[in-house]
């Protein structure tokens, strides 16, 4: 994105995405597009391996203390988890559609879909924070040494809450980062940066948002449904 200039060269009245020139070391816009996408995929691979550590911790501790995990899972409301799943799937659909809009030059729809995705992400965080984290922490269902819930029946329940807050917390952080990135996309779309010939950023952030969705697809049954 280095060679973007926000003011058109004199006489060049084409829209921004058509004026766009790839960085000097790329032969063409297509080469740059492929490189951007490949780079994002490498990032996604590291993201999956980051969460692999959390999934492995979950599996090991579940193996060691199945009763604590069964008890802990009962404290989660599957309806809230399912609502968040639907919200994230919907937002994955809208961000995929926004790429379609950029490719077709439908800038109004592009902005609508990006805004809708941001709202979905915000709704996810509100459900997570206001309806899940806050009441649970208030009741003392906190991780590790902060645990003060008086009605526990298994000594390892604090470990369950540790896994729960780590896994969902790291995921929620990713959702927050995604919201910021999609807001940035919205502003750029509003400025007319994206169109059929240039939409690298929409494609890259879209991939990132999908991996956040995929991770929740696994977290939801592991935490809420398996008992």
């Amino acid at each position: 994105m280095s060679s973007i200039t926000s003011t058109p060269a004199s006489g060049d009245t084409r829209p921004y995405h058509e004026r766009y020139k790839p960085a000097d070391h790329f032969r063409s816009r297509d080469d740059e597009f492929d490189a951007v996408k490949f780079g994002v995929w490498l990032l996604l691979a590291t993201e999956v391996l980051l969460f692999a550590g959390l999934f492995c911790a979950y599996a090991v501790f579940r193996m060691l203390y199945p009763e604590a995990f069964a008890n802990g899972s009962h404290h989660l409301n599957w309806k809230l988890g399912a609502a968040n799943t639907v919200i994230l799937l919907l937002s994955s659909f809208t961000i995929a559609t926004s790429i379609h809009n950029a490719q077709k030059g439908q800038i109004g729809w592009l902005k609508f879909n990006l805004a809708f995705t941001v709202l979905c992400g915000a709704a996810f965080l509100v459900i997570k924070g206001v309806f899940e984290y806050y009441p649970k922490l208030s009741a003392g269902k906190a991780p590790g040494i902060f645990f003060s819930y008086p009605f526990a029946t298994d000594p390892y329940e604090p470990i369950w809450w540790g896994i729960y807050y780590c896994a969902t917390g790291v995921h929620a952080t990713h959702v927050f980062v995604g919201i910021c990135l999609i807001t940035w996309l919205f502003i750029r779309a509003h400025k007319g940066h994206f169109g059929p010939t240039h939409y690298n950023a929409v494609e890259g952030v879209g991939l990132y948002w999908h991996i956040v969705d995929v991770i929740w697809i696994f977290l939801f049954p592991l935490l809420y449904l398996i008992h």
């Binding site: 009763e67 009605f151 000594p155 059929p196």
Partner: protein, 215 residues
């Protein structure tokens, strides 16, 4: 989901591209149709419904009919559906099906790494009892290595604090309200020194202790 032939993005060859000695530098970007994206969304929502329904059905069968479904059924149904959903997201929303195959190689390598990591960890923990039967129910504490009594102390302290503030009868009442008939005996606590022979999230690696498995 039929006839989703990708349509090319209009693209004109630039001067550099015309001069490119290797040729073929341009390629068609894939545009997935809105109907297809909508179809994938509906499939994903359907599988979400299925995984919740399966989980609720298992609880209803266990509570209503008192049939104890082995835990590995629960785990494998949930994980199979999750994998199917992830495949749909990756192939269509993330466009792996139409994309440069190099990206699919990155994804596949990453998943193999994940598989090695999880697979060998589970194999290790799950099969200890097979190799050394005396280790079957004994797993070394990791991390801070605090003894189990220390963990018990945490939950007992929380309980005592509540009883001091609200009285014993209030605690007992709340306890019944929270756990109902499911209040476990302390003997059913799991842990390194007092473990029930229920190995692994799936129970597939059970080493002869199957008659004790289940909630």
């Amino acid at each position: 989901m039929k006839k989703h032939k990708p349509e090319p993005v209009p693209h004109e060859l630039s001067e550099e591209e015309m001069l490119d000695p290797h040729g073929n530098v341009t390629h068609e970007h894939v545009i997935l149709s809105s109907t297809m994206l909508l179809g994938v969304l509906l499939i994903l929502l359907f599988f979400t419904f299925m995984t919740v329904a399966a989980s609720r059905a298992e609880i209803a069968i266990a509570d209503g009919l008192h049939i104890d479904i082995p835990q590995w059924v629960n785990v494998s149904v949930a994980m199979t559906i999750a994998v199917i959903k992830a495949i749909f997201v990756a192939l269509f929303f993330m466009q792996l099906k139409y994309d440069n195959k190099l990206n699919a190689v990155v994804a596949a390598t990453c998943i193999s790494g994940l598989g090695l990591f999880l697979g060998f960890s589970m194999l290790d923990l799950g099969t200890r009892g097979i190799i050394n039967p005396e280790e079957q129910n004994e797993i070394q504490l990791g991390g801070a290595g605090l003894p189990r009594d220390n963990k018990v102390a945490t939950i007992v302290a929380a309980k005592n604090r509540y009883i001091e503030e609200h009285g014993l009868s209030a605690w007992q009442e709340e306890m019944r309200a929270h756990h109902g008939d499911h209040l476990p005996e302390s003997a059913s606590w799991s842990g390194p020194d007092q473990s029930r022979p229920r190995h692994g999230p799936t129970g597939l690696f059970d080493a002869g202790g199957a008659e004790h498995s289940g909630h």
